[in-house]
Symmetry: C2
Subunit: 82 residues, 2 copies
């Protein structure tokens, strides 16, 4: 069994409205030193297989088909056996 | 100047509808080995101050007042000078 951690980030050119909203809130509350807020996704799940090669294959399919939009986002992942 | 990375997670008892939706999608597409998907936030920003103690103070205020709901979420952070 593996624990998977995936960070999904919008590509740098893609607008991040949630980050923009937080950034504007920072400004309104007077946090003038805080800049460039980006809000992306931190995803965790388990993969119930024995082989790391199979875990990696299933993780990539899950990311490509469900967790990310490959046109707008990119991802990095970590797998940890348990 | 510091680069901040904050991971905001819903507390374990709090329902995660986005994670549930992804998990259901996994099931529909036949990824039967994938379980327990949780989708949380990965947040990055810059803090334009010189002292790490001040950076940490501003980060905590930003997290407590804007980035998180302390009743439902918890966070961990990393600060890196650049």
């Amino acid at each position: 069994m593996f624990k998977a951690t995936v960070i999904v980030k919008r590509k740098p050119a893609i607008l991040d409205p949630q980050g923009k909203a937080a950034q504007q809130g920072a400004k309104l509350l007077g946090f003038e030193n805080i800049k460039q807020t980006r809000i992306d996704k931190f995803i965790r799940f388990e993969i119930q297989v024995d082989e790391i090669s199979q875990a990696e294959e299933e993780l990539k399919q899950y990311c490509d088909k469900i967790l990310t939009n490959p046109n707008m986002e990119e991802y990095e992942f970590k797998l940890e056996q348990f």
